[in-house]
C-alpha cells in the first residue's frame, strides 16, 4: 500500500514536471528568438552603428543600409490605421455595449469578429484588386482636388501606397480594438451610469463623462494592442504599399515597412550584409512590438482581468 501511494506521488511529481517543462518552452522560444536576432543583426549593427537607425538610404545593391525609411513607413502606416480605426472601434463598442437592442448585440459583435478571422493574405488580395483600383480612380483624385493643398495628399494617384496600407491595416485592427473596448465597457458598473442619468445627463453625456473615463486604461490598452498588430502586419501591407523604401510626406506615395521589406528581400538576399541588415530590422521590429505589447497587456490587466480565448465572447 505504501508502495502504491509512493508511486502515486512520483507520478504526480513527474506530471507536474512535464507540464512545467512545456511551460518553460515558452520562455525558451522567446530567448531563442532574441538570441538569433541579436547574433544575426551583429554584423550590420557593427558596421553601421546608429546610422542604421537614422540613415535614409536602403540600397541592397550598394550595400547601404539605413532603416529610417522602413521605420518611417511602419510608423506612418500604423498611425494612419489608428487614426481611422480608433474612432470607428470606439463607436462600435459603445453601440454594442450601451445602445444596441439586445437581439442585435451578439450577431453584430460576431460579424465584427469575423473580420479578425480572415487571413492577412486575403486582405492583401482584396486590397490589391479591389481597394487599390478604387483609391486610384475615385478616392485619391477626390482627395487631391479637395485637400490637395495639404502635403499629405499630393502627387499622382497611384492607388498603391501608404494610404492603401493604412486603410487595410485599419480594417484588420478594428476587431481587436472593438472587442476589448466592448468588454471594458461591459465591465463598467451600472451604478456609474445610473448616477449620471439620475443627475439629468443625456445618454451621450453619461457615456462620455461616466463610462468612458472609468474604462480609460482598458481602452488605451486596447488601442495599443491594435497598434502592436499594425506595426508587425506583413502580408496585406506588402501587397498594397508599393514597396519603395523612401520617406515622403504624401500618403499617395509608395513606401516600405520593416515587415514588408523582410517579406520582399529575405529570400533573395544579395549578400551577407544584406541578410544581416534585414535581421537587424527584424530585431528592431521585435523589440518595438515587445514593448508595445507589454505596455498594452499591463494596461488591460490593470483595468480588469479579461478572460482570453474562447471564454471571451
Amino acid at each position: 500500500m505504501v508502495g502504491k501511494a509512493g508511486r502515486g506521488k512520483i507520478k504526480d511529481t513527474l506530471f507536474a514536471g512535464i507540464s512545467g517543462l512545456a511551460a518553460l518552452s515558452i520562455i525558451f522560444i522567446i530567448i531563442v528568438m532574441l538570441y538569433e536576432l541579436v547574433v544575426g543583426a551583429g554584423p550590420a549593427l557593427a558596421r553601421f552603428g546608429w546610422d542604421f537607425l537614422t540613415g535614409t538610404r536602403w540600397d541592397p545593391v550598394r550595400e547601404q543600409f539605413g532603416a529610417w525609411p522602413l521605420i518611417y513607413g511602419t510608423l506612418v502606416s500604423s498611425f494612419v490605421a489608428l487614426a481611422l480605426a480608433v474612432p470607428l472601434s470606439l463607436g462600435i463598442a459603445i453601440y454594442l455595449a450601451e445602445l444596441a437592442p439586445p437581439w442585435l448585440r451578439e450577431p453584430v459583435a460576431f460579424l465584427v469578429e469575423l473580420l479578425a478571422a480572415i487571413p492577412s493574405v486575403v486582405y492583401g488580395l482584396w486590397g490589391l484588386f479591389v481597394l487599390v483600383p478604387w483609391l486610384r480612380t475615385t478616392v485619391q483624385p477626390f482627395l487631391g482636388n479637395t485637400l490637395g493643398f495639404l502635403p499629405l495628399f499630393q502627387g499622382p494617384p497611384l492607388g498603391m501606397g501608404m494610404l492603401a496600407a493604412g486603410l487595410v491595416l485599419a480594417i484588420m485592427i478594428l476587431p481587436i480594438i472593438t472587442s476589448i473596448t466592448r468588454e471594458v465597457l461591459l465591465a463598467v458598473p451600472s451604478s456609474q451610469r445610473e448616477a449620471m442619468l439620475a443627475l439629468g445627463a443625456t445618454r451621450w453625456e453619461t457615456i462620455r463623462m461616466a463610462v468612458l473615463p472609468y474604462g480609460r486604461s482598458g481602452i488605451v490598452g486596447a488601442v495599443i494592442l491594435g497598434l502592436g498588430r499594425a506595426l508587425g502586419e506583413t502580408m496585406a501591407v506588402t501587397m498594397v504599399i508599393g514597396n519603395r523604401p523612401q520617406v515622403s510626406l504624401s500618403l499617395f506615395h509608395p513606401g516600405q515597412t520593416i515587415a514588408s521589406v523582410i517579406a520582399n528581400e529575405f529570400t533573395e538576399g544579395f549578400n551577407e550584409m544584406h541578410l544581416s541588415a534585414l535581421l537587424a530590422s527584424a530585431l528592431l521590429l521585435f523589440v518595438i512590438t515587445l514593448l508595445v505589447n507589454i505596455l498594452a497587456r499591463l494596461m488591460v490587466w490593470r483595468m480588469n482581468k479579461i478572460p482570453q480565448g474562447v471564454s471571451r465572447e
Partner: protein, 281 residues
C-alpha cells in the same frame, strides 16, 4: 437662440447616431471582402483546381491540389507539435503554476501572441532551415506551431479555471492522485472548451503566410517528405496575385475562396460550440 436643453438633446442624438454609422461602416469591408472572394473565386473552381498540379507559367489550366494538400499537412504538423505542448502549458498554469515562474510564463504567452508572424518565420529560418540546409515542411510546421502554442495554452488555462474547485477536491478526497484528478476529472469536464480553443487556433494558423515564406517555401509538385519544401494555399495566393498574369490572378482568387471557407467554417463552428458550452451566454 436654441435653448441649452435642446442643444444637449440634439448633440445626444447626433453622437448616438454616429455610433450606428460606425457600426455600419465596419460591416462594409467585411461584406465587400466576402463578396469579391465569392464572386471572383467561384469561376476559378473546377475539377482541375482540386485535382491537378499548377501549370507552367503561360500554359492554361492547372490546379492547386498540391497547395490544398500542403496546407492540410502543414496545419496537422503544427497541431501535432503545438497541441500537446500548449495543453500541458495550460495545465501547468492552471493546476500547478504558482508564483513568479507562472506569472512570467503567462505574461510571455501573451507577449508571444503579439510577436509579428514574419519574425517567427525569420527565426525558424535561422535555426531550423540553416541547420538542415534546406527549406522543409518540418520548418513550416514548427513556425506555425510557435504561433499556435501560446494560443492553445492560454485558452486551456482559462477553460481549466472555469472547472469548479469542488470537483478537484472531491476527486482528491477519494484518494485520487493529482495526475488522476487532472486527467479524469478536470480535463474531462473541460474537454469541449479545449477542443474549441484548438479549433480557433487552427483556423488562425491555417491562413498564416509570412512564417511560411522562408521555411516551407513553396513547391510546384506534390508534397514529398517532411524534409522537402511544400506548397500551401496562402503562399500561392501571395505569389500568384503579385504576378502580372490574369490566369494566375484567377487561381489566386480561387485559392482565397477555399482558404476563407476553410478558416471561416472552422472558426464559426468553434464559436457556436463555445456559445453552447457557455450555456447560451
Amino acid at each position: 437662440m436654441v435653448s441649452r436643453g435642446l442643444k444637449r438633446k440634439l448633440w445626444n442624438r447626433f453622437m448616438l447616431a454616429l455610433t450606428v454609422v460606425a457600426t455600419a461602416a465596419a460591416l462594409v469591408p467585411l461584406a465587400s471582402i466576402l463578396y469579391y472572394v465569392a464572386v471572383r473565386g467561384l469561376p476559378a473552381l473546377n475539377l482541375d483546381f482540386f485535382t491537378k498540379l499548377p501549370a507552367a507559367v503561360g500554359e492554361p489550366g492547372g490546379g492547386l491540389a498540391n497547395a490544398i494538400l500542403g496546407t492540410i499537412i502543414l496545419v496537422l504538423l503544427a497541431g501535432a507539435m503545438a497541441v500537446p505542448v500548449g495543453i500541458l502549458t495550460g495545465i501547468y498554469l492552471a493546476e500547478f503554476g504558482r508564483g513568479r515562474l507562472a506569472w512570467t510564463v503567462r505574461f510571455l504567452c501573451d507577449v508571444l501572441t503579439g510577436v509579428p508572424s514574419i519574425i517567427v518565420g525569420i527565426v525558424v529560418y535561422s535555426t531550423v532551415v540553416l541547420t538542415m540546409k534546406r527549406f522543409s515542411a518540418l520548418a513550416g510546421g514548427i513556425a506555425l506551431a510557435i504561433i499556435m502554442i501560446p494560443l492553445v495554452a492560454r485558452t486551456t488555462e482559462e477553460i481549466l479555471r472555469l472547472v469548479p474547485q469542488s470537483l478537484r477536491e472531491a476527486s482528491l478526497a477519494l484518494g485520487a492522485t493529482r495526475v488522476r484528478t487532472v486527467r479524469s476529472v478536470v480535463l474531462r469536464s473541460a474537454m469541449g472548451g479545449i477542443i474549441t480553443g484548438v479549433m480557433l487556433a487552427t483556423a488562425r494558423i491555417a491562413g498564416e503566410t509570412a512564417p511560411l515564406l522562408f521555411t516551407a517555401l513553396n513547391s510546384r509538385y506534390w508534397p514529398g517528405g517532411l524534409t522537402d519544401h511544400i506548397a500551401s494555399l496562402p503562399v500561392y495566393i501571395f505569389t500568384y496575385s503579385t504576378t502580372p498574369y490574369e490566369e494566375l490572378h484567377r487561381l489566386a482568387w480561387g485559392a482565397a475562396l477555399i482558404l476563407v471557407v476553410m478558416v471561416l467554417t472552422t472558426s464559426i463552428a468553434a464559436r457556436l460550440a463555445a456559445r453552447r458550452l457557455n450555456g447560451g451566454r
